[in-house]
């Protein structure tokens, strides 16, 4: 569960990104975060995986106050959260298999467990046959699936995705969405920032709209609600 109480974020350069956010996201939710560019979506998302910390207010992740967590313990907090980016952020000199396995090595999983789990996850995202390919040999959609495999390989409670379909054509975008829906159906919370009107209006989920640093709309089975 993610809870935010009265959260403000002012960046050192004076930009007020968030101006009093109150929200509760339950375990197993699927949430779209929408809003115009520069509205604070990214900051809102980054707060959840502690890439930025709030200037004011309380953020609870599974009941833990994120602001109180000591710096050296943050990695352990992050292990509960898988992150997916628009630009995939794969390591170019590692194969698909190695990119996913890297996430397990990084949290010091014993080797014998890594092999089995990585193959299992790659099978789930449909890339079992391509596991020895380098990112440069994969299409955008395939690369994004590798990055989703990497995000979920350590069994996180949450998947946070920042415009995961932003660089993909409609067909690949839908593949990614079905994959996220599948992951969500197994109990993982999915929070996804997006500009994709078609997806939000077709695959109906909870919609949180952020404008000028505040939540202006929060609806179950919501609509995208913007013209772009």
């Amino acid at each position: 569960m993610i809870e935010m109480h009265d959260v403000y974020k002012v960046y050192p350069n004076g930009v007020k990104a968030l101006n009093g956010i109150n929200v509760k996201i339950d375990q197993g939710d699927f949430v779209y975060v929408v809003g115009p560019s520069g509205a604070g979506k990214s900051t809102f998302i980054k707060l959840m995986y502690r890439e930025v910390s709030p200037t004011h207010g309380v953020i609870l992740i599974n009941g833990v106050n994120v602001k109180r967590v000591r710096d050296w313990k943050i990695p352990y907090l992050r292990r509960k959260i898988g992150v997916v980016f628009q630009d995939y952020k794969l390591l170019p000199n590692m194969t698909a298999y190695e990119n996913v396995a890297f996430a397990m090595e990084a949290v010091e999983t014993p080797k014998r467990k890594i092999r089995r789990r990585v193959q299992e996850v790659l099978e789930l995202v449909g890339l079992y046959d391509r596991m020895n390919a380098l990112p440069s040999q994969l299409s955008g959609g395939e690369q994004q699936r590798v990055s989703i495999a990497r995000a979920m390989v350590n069994n996180p409670s949450f998947i946070i995705a920042d415009e995961p379909t932003g660089n993909l054509d409609p067909e690949n975008s839908w593949d990614i969405m079905y994959l996220l829906e599948e992951i969500n159906s197994r109990g993982t919370t999915v929070v996804m920032a997006t500009h994709n009107k078609e997806i939000v209006n077709t695959m109906r989920k909870r919609v949180i709209a952020v404008e000028q640093g505040v939540i202006v709309r929060d609806e179950q089975q919501g609509e995208y609600g913007y013209e772009d």
Binding site: S53, D71, W72, R78, R79, L91
Partner: protein, 299 residues
């Protein structure tokens, strides 16, 4: 840390040294150049220090013994002085030996001392070397105080000895400060190059952080890499410096005219130079890596 994690870190360190071969080459070269200067300096510093301690050796305490004490008593006093913690060595110089050496000073005029053999006025002496020559003055006072009946006087050479000691400690300090400055300079040069190699891999670090790798897990491979860069960087300079020094020692030894330049032998100097250069290289490698990675680990 588990063994397979440590193996993984070591493997990663080697892999990245090989994968980023040009960066490795740059970092190792930067280390080599600065460590070469440091190694040359070390050879110089060790020799200077050696000369300074040769100077210090000139400072000894002459303890003039009372003419009335027996040779048994002399032995007792000698062994009791030897037991003092400040004392390095004690040498007995009999009155005959004293006279002989005095004759040496007078040279042709030694006739002047003729006839003294029968009734030698020179007292028996103990030549005492302090462990730390700078303590000679206080040690000579201590000897006079502790053996009032056996010792007539103890003389450490006064002003001349003091200026010798001042000189040698000045030399040592100058050399030490210079060496420290050189080490700091080397540290900056090498750590800057390492910063570049780490900057080239910031994406890897970013992803490790995102998936929840602990800070130490991220640091370890860089830590090992820094050590390896330092070690690799010290190989060439150590070889060059020692080979060069060996040649210099041989040339000076062959030409005895220069024998007043007393150079230290190759052993154990080689060990010191190799050890200290490698140690500095490794320390700087590790320090450079850890400093450079710090800014990528801030949350």
């Amino acid at each position: 840390m588990r063994i397979d994690t440590l193996l993984r870190h070591t493997r990663e360190a080697f892999k990245s040294l090989i994968r980023n071969n040009w960066m490795t080459f740059a970092a190792v070269s930067a280390a080599s150049v600065t460590l070469l200067i440091f190694g040359l300096f070390l050879v110089f510093a060790f020799n200077i220090n050696y000369m300074a301690s040769e100077l210090d050796r000139e400072v000894s305490i002459r303890v003039f013994l009372n003419a009335s004490i027996s040779s048994d008593e002399i032995d007792q006093v000698k062994s009791s002085i030897e037991k003092k913690p400040k004392v390095e060595s004690v040498k007995f110089i009999s009155k005959q030996e004293g006279l002989e050496s005095m004759k040496g000073w007078f040279g042709e005029d030694e006739k002047f001392l003729e006839g003294l053999e029968k009734d030698n006025p020179i007292p028996d002496m103990l030549e005492v070397m302090a462990k730390d020559p700078r303590q000679s003055e206080s040690l000579s006072e201590e000897l006079k105080r502790d053996y009032p009946n056996q010792v007539d006087n103890a003389d450490f050479g006064g002003g001349v000895s003091r200026s010798i000691l001042d000189m040698s400690s000045l030399i040592r300090n100058v050399v030490f400060i210079f060496g420290l400055g050189l080490a700091v300079l080397a540290a900056f040069l090498i750590s800057n190059t390492i910063k570049l190699t780490i900057f080239a891999r910031r994406r890897e670090i970013e992803i490790m952080r995102l998936v929840g790798a602990s800070n130490w897990f991220i640091r370890w491979p860089f830590f090992i890499e820094g050590t390896l860069i330092g070690l690799l960087g010290s190989v060439v300079p150590v070889a060059v410096v020692l080979a060069g020094y060996n040649a210099v020692v041989r040339i000076l030894d062959a030409d005895k005219a220069y024998s007043f330049f007393k150079l230290l032998g190759m052993w154990p100097l080689s060990l010191w130079v190799a050890g200290l250069t490698a140690l500095l290289g490794v320390m700087i490698g590790i320090w450079g890596s850890l400093i450079s990675i710090r800014r990528f680990l801030r949350t």
